[in-house]
């Protein structure tokens, strides 16, 4: 399925928050930043990984509302009445979501570069960052797609997304280093999948190819992906038949 992305406005507005974070938040905490996470590096450099992931996080939740929209508007039914392969409809949806996340990530990384964030691993490292974000976005989209297919209500998807976003992000290493957290939160953070994904992106930006961190993240993301996309596939079949 070919789905054209002709909605620059949407891409822009969903980027609004991460850009605000990137520009203002990092400035606000620039002095504090060394203390809460970045050490000798600029806080912007430290937080870029978190902001990239935060964007992927909220972007992924748009997939669920989009699929609700497709069901409600009859667009899904219309596609189902054509010879198009069933799974192609779902993959097309996921692919366009991944495409969006990649486009947004590139914009954020370019902006970060302008603010002086130079990746330790260079251009190739950034490609790997983008791949990691896309991979995470794919797995995370599964949650919102499954929710959308199950509840068929955009409000519910939004509500759950909103409820999840801040606890998961703040109790992860997205914006502060683990050492800065109270000990109970450190525990939560080390079980928080967001931390794994953030850490992988962060080492690519700051340290270099730390494969154990990166592969650990891929393992966690793959685990999430299997569960969420499995649930999505199951629910999609139910909706389709």
């Amino acid at each position: 399925m070919k789905k054209l992305v002709r909605n620059p406005i949407l891409v822009f507005f969903s980027l609004f928050q991460p850009i605000i974070f990137l520009l203002l938040f990092t400035q606000l905490f620039s002095n504090l930043g060394r203390f809460i996470g970045s050490g000798t590096l600029s806080y912007t450099t430290f937080a870029t990984a978190g902001i990239v992931l935060q964007n992927a996080f909220s972007s992924a939740f748009q997939s669920g509302t989009a699929v609700v929209d497709d069901i409600k508007s009859g667009f899904l039914a219309k596609m189902l009445a054509t010879p198009v392969n069933r799974s192609a409809i779902l993959f097309g949806r996921l692919l366009s979501d991944v495409f969006r996340v990649v486009a947004q990530t590139i914009i954020i990384l370019v902006l970060a570069f302008a603010l002086g964030v130079y990746p330790a691993t260079g251009f190739i490292g950034y490609l790997l960052v983008i791949f990691t974000v896309a991979f995470f976005g794919l797995a995370w989209s599964g949650i919102s797609l499954a929710l959308g297919l199950k509840t068929k209500s955009a409000e519910t998807v939004f509500g759950i997304a909103g409820a999840l976003t801040f606890p998961l992000l703040f109790m992860s290493t997205a914006l502060v280093s683990q050492g800065f957290m109270p000990s109970w939160m450190q525990t939560v953070s080390s079980y928080n999948p967001i931390s794994y994904a953030v850490n992988a992106i962060r080492v690519l930006i700051i340290t270099g190819y730390d494969w154990s961190t990166i592969l650990q993240a891929y393992g966690v993301i793959a685990g999430i992906g299997v569960v969420t996309l499995g649930a999505t596939l199951y629910l999609f079949r139910k909706v389709v038949s």
Partner: protein, 337 residues
């Protein structure tokens, strides 16, 4: 001879136990313009969904162009065009892009799509607006575009669920004109609608469903003749005030004094009486009601219409919802990604 659509003892029971379709049997011949009518919730949309492979039946059999809806679903999808109740066009794309996308969904390739799209734009009079985004189209234009998307792959059979509901009269007439044209080119049309006048004019045959069962089928002419009588609609003064009292009293009068009456049905304002030579009966009716102290507010005689057929078989008048939810959604353009 088997029809292009054959349905036998079709049953659909939903997961929650609702019996939407309770064993219907009908068949549509190739090239026919077939009307499928019924009040809301009668099982029309469920039947269409089963025939267009969007929903699995519970039991019975259904085939489209000789293909089984369960085992040959993929083949059926290639030869049918489906227009759902909701207008579905991608508002971020232009009219032309919408059609091309649909062509790709129908697995058409290369120059064949371009040519076909140009033709279709001409057919539905959208050539001038072809390169504007569909989000800027009026309700009628969107509906026409939606209709065009169902035709991209030259389907043999068109399934249309309420294609003109919520449109202004002019757009409605335009859609019906296209459908007539398409049917004349040999496309079989299976349509549900609330506009009985158009059905009467265009449909060769029709079936009326109510509560999941077929209550009547035949040509519009036959069905009207079956009523065999003119309809006299009576309105009573205060009929709503004394509950159903006036109606009951009036029914008694009709029963006692008029042999020619074949049927009496409740209507919104009073009663509808079916009788041969209705116009001759009017003076007698007036006199009889006067004697019984029943005050008439209106009286009208008409030869049978499909409305009467519908009323007789379902006990309801068909209601046209001028602005349906589907339409209001279309007006506040939804964005799709």
């Amino acid at each position: 001879m088997p029809g292009i659509i054959d349905v036998s003892q079709l049953v659909k029971t939903y997961g929650d136990g609702t019996k939407a379709v309770k064993g219907i049997t009908f068949s549509v011949n190739e090239g026919e313009f077939f009307g499928f009518l019924g009040p809301n919730g009668a099982g029309k949309s469920t039947t269409i969904k089963i025939l267009t492979t969007l929903l699995q039946k519970t039991s019975g059999s259904a085939s489209v162009a000789g293909l089984n809806v369960d085992s040959d679903a993929a083949k059926i999808r290639k030869i049918i065009g489906v227009q759902n109740q909701d207008t579905v066009v991608d508002e971020d794309l232009t009219g032309r892009e919408n059609l091309v996308l649909q062509g790709q969904l129908q697995q058409m390739h290369g120059p064949a799509i371009k040519e076909r799209v140009d033709d279709l734009l001409k057919i539905v009079d959208l050539t001038d607006a072809a390169d504007k985004r569909a989000g800027f189209y009026s309700g009628g234009m969107k509906k026409r575009l939606d209709l065009a998307t169902t035709l991209v792959h030259n389907p043999k059979i068109l399934f249309l669920d309420e294609p003109t509901t919520g449109l202004d009269p002019q757009s409605r007439a335009a859609i019906w004109a296209y459908l007539k044209q398409l049917n004349e080119q040999g496309i079989t049309i299976f349509i549900t609608t609330q506009y009985l006048e158009e059905v009467d004019r265009l449909c060769r045959r029709l079936a009326i469903v109510d509560l999941g069962e077929i209550v009547a089928q035949g040509t519009p002419g036959d069905l009207k003749q079956e009523i065999g009588a003119d309809s006299i609609s009576l309105g009573f003064e205060n009929s709503s005030m004394n509950g159903g009292d006036t109606k009951i009293k009036a029914r008694q009068v009709l029963e006692q004094k008029f042999d020619g009456v074949s049927n009496v049905v409740d209507s919104d304002v009073g009663l509808t009486v079916y009788a041969k030579n209705g116009s001759y009966m009017v003076p007698e009716l007036v006199r009889a009601f006067d004697e019984a102290h029943i005050r008439l507010s209106t009286i009208g005689v008409s030869s049978p219409t499909l409305d009467d057929v519908f009323l007789k078989h379902t006990g309801k008048r068909i209601r046209v919802e001028e602005v349906s939810s589907a339409n209001s959604r279309g007006m506040f353009g939804r964005r799709r990604r």
